[in-house]
């Protein structure tokens, strides 16, 4: 499988990652090797096989509809890089014309 820089850049963008030029070079090389390795599973005929999404069937989990104490706003905000008036603060996301 041939992986080029454009492919790496495309998937990096989807994953909210950005690479320097050197990183992209290295990642293109490694990513190609890894994909060639994992593509080994295509040797198998899997047409009649069910996919495993859960290794065992659990009973549906239900609980009484009761309120419980949470950690509270103060603790929830304690690790945030930026806050204001009890909210998480982020850079402006709406463009004003």
């Amino acid at each position: 499988m041939n992986i080029d820089r454009q492919t790496v850049e495309h998937y990096a963008k989807l994953a909210n990652l950005a690479f320097s030029k050197e990183e992209t070079e290295r990642m293109t090389h490694d990513f190609g090797n890894i994909l060639n390795y994992v593509a080994k599973i295509s040797e198998l005929d899997l047409s009649d096989v069910e996919a495993t999404t859960h290794v065992f069937e659990n009973r549906p989990l239900v609980r009484p509809d009761e309120t419980a104490e949470g950690i509270g706003a103060k603790a929830a905000l304690a690790n945030a890089p930026d806050t204001e008036a009890g909210h998480f603060l982020v850079p402006k996301m709406i463009k004003v014309r």
Partner: protein
């Protein structure tokens, strides 16, 4: 007071020794050894001593005590402990202080264990040598030129260097058994669903399990006993009653059929590891076990399937680290999208980026069926291979790893060679079955060799009993 088993420590505590003295002795060992070993990212001296004194007070007052009363425990740094950092070995979480306890931590507190600190790991548990920690280098206490294994390398090194008798690790593909094997301690991955994942930072959610690390099988059984069992806060937590692992632990296991996986015994297995494994197997045979050869025809597809499943799940799980609610935030960004991208790119290390990229790729339109879905089908094949084997045998026995510990830098240039370090451990995670690694010898360089026992789902009591039996025979 350090360097003995948990059983002996419990006896000493029941006989009048204080937990404060026991914890002090271990903190002293950490101060003396950890500068060289680098197992801990956080040591909570004051908190540990406070917990120890509280337990001593309870004991003096005749109050009921938990099963691990006064015993020091270390915790891998991807498990949340209130008031302590949970860094996951990553720059992106370098300053994150947890506001809550994971379920396993709540249960350790109910068992009156003493939490002494948090241990180093490969970033977000992605690695097999702890070299991918962005925060610290951990060496193998047996020989500092060699890696401790990973990703729970800090936990296994801490136990090996007598800095704690017990530690929690987590396993997605072999991250408890492989470093346990490299460091010469016992490490165990429970059945998927046996231990609550609530408060464990998710990597590959359908594979992750928290498990115990100890100097001996008994210690590991006691630690698992304390943390296992259903939890309403984890929807994948099994309803099965957690088994009693201690009562019948040392009982004669009766007739045993041991399965040897033929595919594990071929090329790539180091001669000295093979010899030590064979000796352990011979001891079991001499004690009456019957050996059956088992075939796992999908062995060579296990690591590829594992990397597809784990990275796909990781790419979703790690999306939450975007610099909004917690984690590093870049100061270079001019808008929200740039803030996400810069924060993640500055905060994650290269292996984490590689895996997020692979996961994103194999979940994307056009590749999903060929990669992710087919990997889940390979998983079904491997589960069937286990079912076929367990129809014949009680337990599967194999080397834990193809080699002993490798040197620093030996595998970091070639991601695939690092992945292959997990070749014998990864199938138990894919199938959700319990597995345990215990020391069975050392190579000519003195590096530990481990053997792995695997049993069917939810048969931990039998697994520990057979491991205890094997431990005794190997020690003779």
């Amino acid at each position: 007071m350090t360097g003995t088993t948990v059983k002996d420590m419990l006896t000493a505590l029941a006989g009048g020794e204080t937990s404060e003295a026991l914890v002090q002795a271990h903190l002293k060992q950490i101060r003396e050894r950890d500068e060289a070993v680098g197992a801990f990212l956080t040591v909570d001296e004051d908190g540990a001593l406070q917990q120890a004194r509280d337990i001593d007070r309870k004991r003096a007052a005749g109050e009921p005590l938990g099963s691990l009363a006064g015993i020091p425990v270390a915790v891998k740094d991807n498990i949340n402990v209130t008031g302590l950092k949970t860094t996951c070995g990553s720059k992106i979480l370098a300053d994150f202080v947890s506001p809550y306890d994971a379920t396993v931590i709540q249960r350790l507190r109910e068992a009156d264990a003493v939490i002494v600190g948090k241990t180093n790991m490969d970033e977000f548990a992605m690695g097999s040598s702890t070299e991918y920690s962005a925060l610290k280098k951990t060496v193998n206490p047996v020989n500092p030129d060699y890696v401790p294994g990973g990703s729970s390398g800090g936990s296994t090194a801490a136990v090996r260097a007598d800095m704690v008798p017990l530690a929690l690790g987590s396993s997605t593909g072999g991250s408890i058994r492989q470093p346990a094997s490299f460091c010469g301690v016992v490490g165990m991955k429970p059945t998927y669903g046996r231990v609550s994942r609530y408060g464990l930072t998710a990597y590959g959610s359908s594979l992750d399990q928290i498990g115990p690390i100890a100097r001996d099988v008994d210690g590991a059984a006691r630690l698992l006993q304390a943390v296992a069992g259903h939890d309403d806060r984890d929807t994948t937590s099994a309803y099965d009653e957690a088994p009693d692992l201690i009562t019948d632990l040392e009982k004669d296991p009766g007739p045993i059929k041991v399965g040897v996986i033929d595919e594990f015994m071929g090329d790539g297995l180091d001669d000295e590891v093979r010899a030590a494994f064979q000796t352990a197997l011979d001891r079991l045979t001499a004690a009456g076990a019957e050996v059956v050869h088992c075939s796992f025809p999908h062995t060579e597809y296990a690591i590829p399937a594992y990397y597809l499943v784990a990275t796909a799940e990781a790419s979703a799980n790690l999306a939450r680290f975007d610099g909004v609610r917690y984690s590093h935030r870049s100061t270079e960004a001019r808008n929200l999208k740039e803030m996400y991208t810069h924060s993640r790119s500055e905060g994650f290390g290269p292996e984490v980026k590689r895996r997020i990229l692979l996961g994103t790729y194999c979940l994307s339109s056009g590749y999903y069926e060929g990669f992710y879905l087919n990997a889940q089908k390979v998983r079904t094949k491997i589960i069937n291979d286990f079912q076929t084997a367990f129809a014949e045998v009680d337990v599967l026995l194999s080397p834990t790893c193809p080699t002993t510990a490798f040197k620093f830098g030996e595998k970091t240039d070639d991601p695939v060679s690092m992945y292959l370090s997990d070749i014998y451990t990864v199938m138990a995670n894919l199938a959700g079955v319990p597995a345990l690694s215990l020391p069975v010898g050392a190579d000519s360089k003195g590096l530990p060799i481990g053997a792995q026992l695997i049993t069917p789902r939810f048969t931990e009591a039998r697994l520990f009993q057979l491991a205890c039996h094997t431990e005794k025979l190997v020690g003779e």
